[in-house]
Symmetry: C2
Subunit: 346 residues, 2 copies
């Protein structure tokens, strides 16, 4: 196995606006062997997430950007092929941030074991992983929804949004999703159980949203920005909360968008309606992992929440899948299946 070739996807150039395939490079090299205290991992599932777009820019953010020539970062579920690490054995399933590649050497730092008996191992990238925790913490801790309130969630069928909407329903809220394609809107209502879902492609999004939220909006879970934010802000109720999780509409911006300038108007609403707008990054909230794992696993087991994965086959399709993600072309949690799932899933 040590002679197997590793294939990895690196950042070839910093994108200007929307990333292009040529902003990535494919590198083949021999797979390394683990030293004492290390293990060799074979990637089974790679997670693709919108935040990765930010890492491609050379700007100050909450973590350093990916360097040119460096393997694209990302979380993955892998199988331990060879272990010289005391805590892991060959055959173990693990989660870690091993990046866009077929094989990785790890010293165990930041790795955790995934128990295949609890749920399909791919869920460690979605509903039971970082996106799930993001939705759970963002909605419950920052959004603080109360029974009978109206919650709006954008990117409502995505990895984060689909959990947000379902938890809000469990908490007794009226829940309205915003999504793109009509099929996603139908899924949000028929399968996720939301009260309504509005397409952001509607010519008059604000009117459609208003009709779906007759009592205004108490919590807006922000994944998107742009015109969805504009439609929402005017409907926010006094003392409303806006957890800011992402703003995918702007990830490809090359500078401030043209005018008019919407900031003063947004601040006026924030002031007069006494809104709380709060950004968050999930790694500040790791203390909530035990509660999250217990509650969401329980809801999954009892069938009160569902999840949807959009699985793409093969590392050679990762770039195209990622570019599609930024355009909203995925439907459910986007995952790249890199190699055979030893537990039989995928």
């Amino acid at each position: 196995m040590t002679t197997t070739t590793n294939r990895r996807i690196t950042l070839a150039a910093r994108p200007v606006g929307a990333p292009k395939p040529t902003d990535f490079a494919t590198v083949d090299e021999p797979t390394a062997s683990p030293s004492e205290g290390e293990m060799r991992l074979r990637t089974v599932y790679l997670s693709l997430d919108p935040y990765m777009r930010g890492r491609m820019n050379d700007v100050k953010s909450y973590v350093p950007p990916v360097r040119i020539g460096q393997t694209m970062e990302g979380g993955a579920v892998s199988v331990v092929e060879e272990s010289r690490h005391p805590d892991y054995s060959a055959g173990d399933i693990v989660y870690g941030r091993t990046g866009w590649q077929r094989y990785a050497i790890s010293d165990g730092k930041g790795m955790r074991t995934v128990d295949p008996s609890l749920a399909p191992i791919s869920t460690a990238l979605g509903i039971l992983g970082m996106p799930g925790l993001t939705g759970y913490v963002g909605l419950l801790d920052l959004g603080q929804p109360k029974e009978g309130e109206t919650v709006v969630v954008s990117a409502a069928t995505g990895a984060v949004g689909s959990l947000v909407g379902q938890i809000a329903k469990l908490k007794g809220c009226r829940v309205v999703g915003v999504a793109g394609a009509q099929a996603k809107c139908r899924y949000a209502v028929d399968i996720l159980g939301l009260d309504a879902c509005v397409s952001h492609r509607e010519p008059d999004l604000a009117d459609a949203l208003k009709a779906a939220c007759p009592d205004g909006i108490d919590v807006y879970f922000e994944n998107v920005g742009g015109k969805v934010f504009d439609a929402v802000i005017g409907l926010m109720n006094v003392h409303g909360r806006i957890p800011v999780c992402g703003s995918i509409a702007h990830y490809n911006d090359t500078g401030p968008p043209p005018g008019p300038d919407r900031l003063a108007g947004a601040m006026r609403v924030i002031l007069t309606r006494r809104l709380t707008v709060r950004g968050f990054i999930i790694f500040d909230h790791r203390h909530r992992i035990p509660d999250f794992a217990r509650e969401v696993s329980g809801w999954l087991r009892e069938g009160s929440i569902v999840y949807k994965e959009d699985v793409v086959e093969g590392i050679d399709n990762a770039v195209e899948a990622f570019l599609g993600l930024l355009e909203g072309e995925n439907f459910g949690k986007l995952i790249v299946k890199i190699s055979d799932d030893p537990t039989g899933g995928g």
Copy 2:
């Protein structure tokens, strides 16, 4: 006394952009007599505050706008001239929202007694009144400054900002003010005791602010908006807090300002630095009045905070003074002395 003429200032027209003197009218009429359960008040001090600009617009806000022909709203300290109200006697000093006029009839609703033995009665409009409570609650409850943190306050010598800066110093913070005129900046440092004060007229405000905040900004008390917000947002530290009290730079906007659109950039910083931006209106925080009154009175008595009033004489100068307030021409809490202060102050 019942034959005395009442003079009041009414809203004559809704301003387009900056208000003009012709947007106001002066109305003279005989002073009314109190019925049973009422009292006649003679206004001594009228408060002029930036929020009044918002009341002149016919837009949804946290309270209804002033109607055309209606007396301009505002808080005032008055002396009871004639009382047929069981709780008040002639000679009592009271505070209430009796508006821009020389005399008012009140049924006591929303009125409270002002004790002249505690402090000059004009302070019921400033440091010991609504602006003081606004600064106290906004800084302590929303800003939550911790010892050693950096607090920036805009409109730093105004009725609200001057208390914010002084309380932040008492809490052990590095405090940097933003003001207009150089005399105000000097006052902020020499008299209020701030660590630094930057003029928003500086050609490179962001650089000046950065030099004054070498450790970044943890709390920004927002009174202003516009270019001050722009300079601040880039310096905010992770987990910073922005209580939004006002945005006087935009009160005369007739629509969204021209581009570029700064909203997406602001949201990006809110997200990546995990900021909390929270609007507030002081009447949601009345439960803090006892703490506020006890603490701020105590600080005043022991001389650890000071206040400054900008007193204009006569109701006929109220409009001009108010227009100047919107341009930052006042220096300290703006008050119009309407008639003789029976306690000898003013």
